[in-house]
Symmetry: C2
Subunit: 232 residues, 2 copies
């Protein structure tokens, strides 16, 4: 979201570049250099109907923004990093504030119980190898399961378990799908704001820990950038 | 889906036009003329991972295909018609084979229980005025609620009722969102394959009635085209 992105935009000195997206979409791109890397930071903006306090979240804007920015960059993007917050599963070792890197993504709200469509619905995508990055930045590694809801119910929980998820978010699987269309490696960097298999409602914990998780994200992203600007 | 679209493609004599989509996406466009209207018929293709029997369904490919074709048509598209099958609510008068036109769309699988995000999650969009078209083709009119699942559970049902849905599908709200970005009127034409608030699983009824509903769609779409090619 824009508020989460602003500290990084400021610290990297990125500049808003209106030429990166068509005028018809609300997405915003900020560009600049960090060491030898050209950075294009994208936020999904907000929907005019709901106002500036309501950022575009969920899979539909995320996949479209990713597709369009990769189309615009026309083969020059080496990687996509999807940085954001997530819920974490304590049974997979997740704690509030932890940084997780994805080794795969999947969907848990695309149930299509026709035999040949089941796997399509889950839409699992193995993402880039993060084993060295995880050591470098001292992050955990796991599967991110995506849905369009912040909360979940028992059917979702069952699907998230089937997906063997360590963390849960609202965009990763859709962003990775658009990356796959462009053959661009996807890296998910997710900071835990709430415990999915704990005893408190997601939205309560989410709001309570958003600031702490955002700070954790601000701290880890420069280390991710350092890693890639040396290794790539 | 491609199989559902082929009879119409054949009867209108539409030709596959590979220039309409970038090579990076699986979507397919077929073009031609019907009376004074230039028709661009889009199917979402299939994912290479899952093979030709598994069409791309759900909101993410639907919104991207819609966005890209409207971008390509660059302001020359007068309307978008989203033709397909749906589940119908008998409490709203739906029966198998009925044709429904949408007067609004909404989502029932985007639950974001943070006060300012609730309406964004539902994402209701009032769609084009279909009152005259409904009379002309003898269709019913109602709200279409969208999710990425073919089935539903009790939480979905509650959200679908909150959305005051007459029919349920897997794409309309996402397609209408991309249409709204381009200020292009959206018309949903949905044929009922199964009864959502009946006593049989969606997937059973869906498979059983898909052929009948597809035939109904083949019968009604030429009448929709006749209406627009006279009235627009």
């Amino acid at each position: 979201m824009q508020d989460e992105a602003m500290p990084l935009i400021d610290s990297l000195g990125l500049q808003f570049d209106e030429s990166m997206f068509p005028a018809s979409v609300p997405f915003r791109a900020f560009r600049g250099w960090y060491e030898k890397c050209q950075i294009t930071l994208v936020t999904n903006g907000h929907d005019d109907v709901y106002g500036t306090g309501v950022d575009n979240v969920g899979t539909v804007p995320a996949s479209l923004a990713t597709y369009l920015i990769l189309q615009k960059l026309n083969g020059t993007a080496d990687i996509v990093v999807n940085a954001g917050t997530c819920g974490g599963f304590k049974r997979k070792g997740a704690q509030i504030g932890d940084v997780f890197l994805t080794n795969a993504v999947a969907n848990h709200d695309r149930r299509i119980p026709i035999p040949e469509f089941i796997s399509y619905g889950v839409g699992r995508i193995n993402t880039a190898d993060v084993s060295q990055l995880a050591i470098s930045i001292n992050a955990k590694v796991g599967i991110c399961t995506t849905s369009n809801s912040l909360d979940f119910h028992s059917v979702d929980m069952s699907q998230m378990e089937n997906n063997d998820a360590s963390v849960k978010d609202m965009e990763a699987a859709a962003i990775a799908w658009s990356c796959a269309l462009h053959n661009t490696p996807f890296y998910g960097v997710k900071v835990v704001t709430d415990i999915v298999d704990g005893d408190r409602p997601t939205q309560e914990e989410f709001m309570e820990n958003l600031y702490r998780a955002s700070s954790s994200l601000q701290e880890v992203l420069p280390r991710v950038l350092n890693y890639f600007c040396i290794h790539l």
